[in-house]
Amino acid sequence: MIEVRGLTKRYGDKVAVNDLSFSVEPGKVTGFLGPNGAGKTTTMRLILGLDYPTAGSVTVHGKQYRELAYPMREVGALLDAKAVHGGRTAYNHLLSLAQTNNIPKRRVDEVLGLVGLTDVAKKRSKGFSLGMSQRLGIAGTLLGDPSVLMFDEPVNGLDPEGIRWIRNLMKALAAEGRTVFVSSHLMSEMENTADDIIVIGRGKLIANTTIEKFIAENSTETVRVRTPQIDALAKAVAAAGGTATANGDGSLLVQGLPTERVGDVAFEAGVRLHELSQTRASLEQAFMELTADSVEYHAGSDGTGSPSPAGPGGEADKAAPAAVGQPAGMATEQARAGRTS
């Protein structure tokens, strides 16, 4: 159980974490999401007492981290897998950690076996791949059999096998009743792993909800229709209670009506259809819209073709944000409302 209350951290003029409050519950994987520079790592550093907060407080099991009797027996944290002395062997690295918390030596061999590094235990970690370094870091977090685990971007740069391994491990740890707090800047990583999500942007809380709720709220159903009679269909859809928006490429995006109903409406109005398909805004898209205002640095031009929230309000732009931006805008409001309620 991690409790963060009114946490604020300033580095000079820059506010890295701004009045952040949330709690992380045991028995679940809690995803900690936000764009790069949102303050995820800073928050984790504050939880561990590596940095001191400017204001607010953070406790683990009701205590400040540095007051924990045996920190490694209560919290296992991995912020940066490469933050080890590369000249030391995997075994000696873990041994030196274990000794600080009076953890028996045999435990070192056990965690090495668990993460699959037994064969390279006597090798210096300098030569480890990123995946091996991550495994070594995770071995360190498990030394003390802690009830709280914290990982900062653990799958960054890993191959699919490594990603799967870490996901399964996190789920398994949560299933054992542990608190698992894991940060990521990619929603897709959390989609299949996290039970709860906490989204921050520019150091502020944007959303604190369950993954099911987030999906339900943010993946608005949209029906895409292509027809030579756009105006006629738009009118018919409006009459039936839906909203139709020109998509710019000659198609129409309909919201508020299920796919079958859109087909029926077109048939009744005598409108010829060339395409009728259901689309779902992806979670990644929803996440990006949600945090768009809080991204630290925008790319100068948007190469992905998705509308830039800060882009000029040209004619072509108008249709697209209206179609895609609207549900996301709603989602933001819902999320904020959900936070205050």
Partner: protein, 279 residues
């Protein structure tokens, strides 16, 4: 959920009473210092430089003894000469080790791992300093006695060589080792303040080598007033067995106290910053 509960394969830990403290952290720091190659390279460098340089100087003097003037023979200090390798250059090796023990944790980022395992920073700071100082003192004592014996053996032909039973000689040999150990602790403090290997070593070279040279360039009266307050003077005073060799300095242990005071002040300043700053 078709998740293999890999984590459950771990056996239960025996319960621990009390709290994580200095004993475990001392053990951990000992593991750290003995498990990196740089420690062994440093020890080797210290022994080679101290003993080798001491032997070169004493051997050279013995070879030219017949041409040495009586006045030079009168002020010749066989003990200090044999120890010169240690307290002039071996000192530099110790300084590098002292700085690197703490700055390497910052350059690799390992300090974050260390402070997560033991968040009570005073304990880490103290354990690191204690283990490091113990290692340094042992290697410096080995270097000091080895330099002394080898140097005296080489000087035997001059019949001006020293033995440990002569007055001040044992103090000089042990004092040389203590002096370089204090220099190592001073480097450790500077390293923890500025968190940068090259920067810390540069400052220490300035303090121990450059400033004494500059002070030597001062007019005589100024030099006489200033020299006794230099940290490096402890090394000159403590290794000297000839009376009146350093007329402007305090007594050997007096000079040692000056260096001790600087080191203590630096250790305290380093400790305050280590505790107060974000890691």
């Amino acid at each position: 959920m078709a998740v293999t509960t890999e984590a459950t394969r771990l056996s239960a830990l025996p319960p621990a009473s009390g709290r994580a403290g200095l004993t475990g952290t001392l053990r951990s720091e000992w593991t750290k210092i003995r498990s990196v190659r740089s420690t062994y390279w440093t020890i080797l460098a210290l022994l080679v430089i101290s003993i080798g340089l001491g032997a070169a100087i004493t051997g050279g003097i013995a070879a030219h003894w017949s041409q040495t003037s009586p006045s030079d023979r009168a002020t010749f200090d066989a003990t200090a000469t044999s120890l010169a390798g240690l307290y002039f250059l071996g000192e530099l090796v110790i300084v590098v080790l002292g700085a690197i023990v703490i700055t390497s944790e910052y350059s690799t980022g390992a300090i974050r791992t260390s402070l997560t395992a033991m968040p009570r920073r005073g304990v880490i700071y103290l354990a690191k300093a204690a283990v490091m100082a113990a290692v340094m003192l042992v290697m410096a004592l080995v270097a000091a006695f080895a330099s002394f014996w080898l140097g005296q053996a080489l000087l035997a032909s001059t019949h001006d060589n020293a033995t440990l039973s002569q007055s001040n000689v044992l103090r000089a040999v042990v004092g040389a080792a203590l002096f370089v150990t204090l220099c190592g602790l001073l480097a450790y403090s500077i390293g923890s303040m500025i968190r940068h290997t090259a920067g810390a070593i540069t400052i220490m070279v300035a303090v121990l080598f450059v400033i004494p040279i500059l002070v030597n360039l001062l007019p005589d009266t100024w030099h006489a007033d200033v020299v006794r307050w230099l940290p490096s003077s402890a090394g000159d005073a403590i290794t000297s067995t000839v009376a009146g060799a350093h007329p402007h300095m305090f007594s050997p242990w007096g000079e040692f106290a000056v260096l001790g005071a600087y080191t203590a002040a630096a250790l305290i300043a380093g400790f305050i910053l280590f505790r107060k700053r974000d890691a």
